[in-house]
Symmetry: C2
Amino acid sequence: MVQKSKKASPPPRIDSPVEPKRRGRPRAYQPDIALGKALDLFRKDGFAATSLDDLSAATGMNRPSLYGAFGDKRELYIKSYQRYRDDARAAMVDIFRNELPIKKRLECIYAVALDIYLSGDSGPRGCFTVMTAASEAVFDSEIRAMVLEGFSELDKAFAACFRHAREKGELPESADPTMLAQLASATIHTIAIRARARVPRKELEAIVKGAIDVMCR
Amino acid sequence: MVQKSKKASPPPRIDSPVEPKRRGRPRAYQPDIALGKALDLFRKDGFAATSLDDLSAATGMNRPSLYGAFGDKRELYIKSYQRYRDDARAAMVDIFRNELPIKKRLECIYAVALDIYLSGDSGPRGCFTVMTAASEAVFDSEIRAMVLEGFSELDKAFAACFRHAREKGELPESADPTMLAQLASATIHTIAIRARARVPRKELEAIVKGAIDVMCR
DNA sequence: GGAATTATTTGCGGAATGGTACAAAAAAGT
DNA sequence: ACTTTTTTGTACCATTCCGCAAATAATTCC
């Protein structure tokens, strides 16, 4: 230890990657993976059918720890949803940004979406937004705001794709990026719903293919 | 009264509109309207968040009567869903069958759909299939079968519309009715979801209009 | 080593849950 | 009038639910 402890002590940055020597008893869980487990449960069963006991068992945290870490059930649900959206965005953003021809790009996007919707050990979990968040959105303004923002974000991302494709001459000048984007979102929604009802991937891919053909005609 | 009461006494048909003098204490409720109330609740809150107490209060039947009339909670849910589908089908079938030009027909269909999705005293209730039944469908094969049948029915009805329109020359020969139908269903799904998140009717109508333009181009 | 801090563990408590048992009530059959 | 049949109303049961209080444990700071 060369460093003198006086004056020159580096101000420990907030949220530094190196844990800043927390003060009390160390946590017995990793918040990130615990939140992931909670997300899995909420995706599987929705808000009401997921009990704190279930969450406790899945995360390995007992209820008071859960409560201390994430707040009450609703807060945990919201944090799970935020996590879901962050993950989904992370999985999509590169594809939305890349330079493939429009059809290929759409294919990639839908393939990633299907991966998300069809994943799950005990059956396809569908899309968090479509399956549970939208339902809660009617009576919970905070969730509603997230859901609406999600719709808007997806619509805008698709619209940017179509606009870009039109500028590159891949689409006719008459194509309306906004309208096409809403159809592209609608296709996302329909495969999310159908996936949850165990429609096989092949059929979902056929729907995607048909939709792309119509949109990029 | 000309008719003689002997020999010609009409065999009281099962389920005849005239109640065939039931044997015991008469029911204090009307099964049809009770089921309607139950449906309202399930649409609003989903399966898990709707308690038997809620259902009992809404229908005016106490729990044992509910149980006797409709079975347990799951059976009541399924019967409510059947009722929902019957109602929705009844509201749609004429429009699917009529002879308006394709665009007008689609407009009518979506207008009726929006009426259904946006109705509700305490906020838009969305579509039963999309909001709750699809979620339950993963782990309940009976519900799943109903949901899948619903998808199929809607797809087929739309496909028939498009096929008919193509034969009448309203659509180009190259149009693929099946694919267009899936897009039309996707549009139904996207407005159902967005309606539940309180997206205003105007915006939903704009989505519908854009979708119709693309599909009937 | 002791104080302070933070998490964990255990377990409680009141409410709500789905479902049912049982007696009273209201009708028809005899 | 009396029995039979069906539904209603009340009450109850065992379980699960969410949230919290209090005691214990593990770590850092001084």
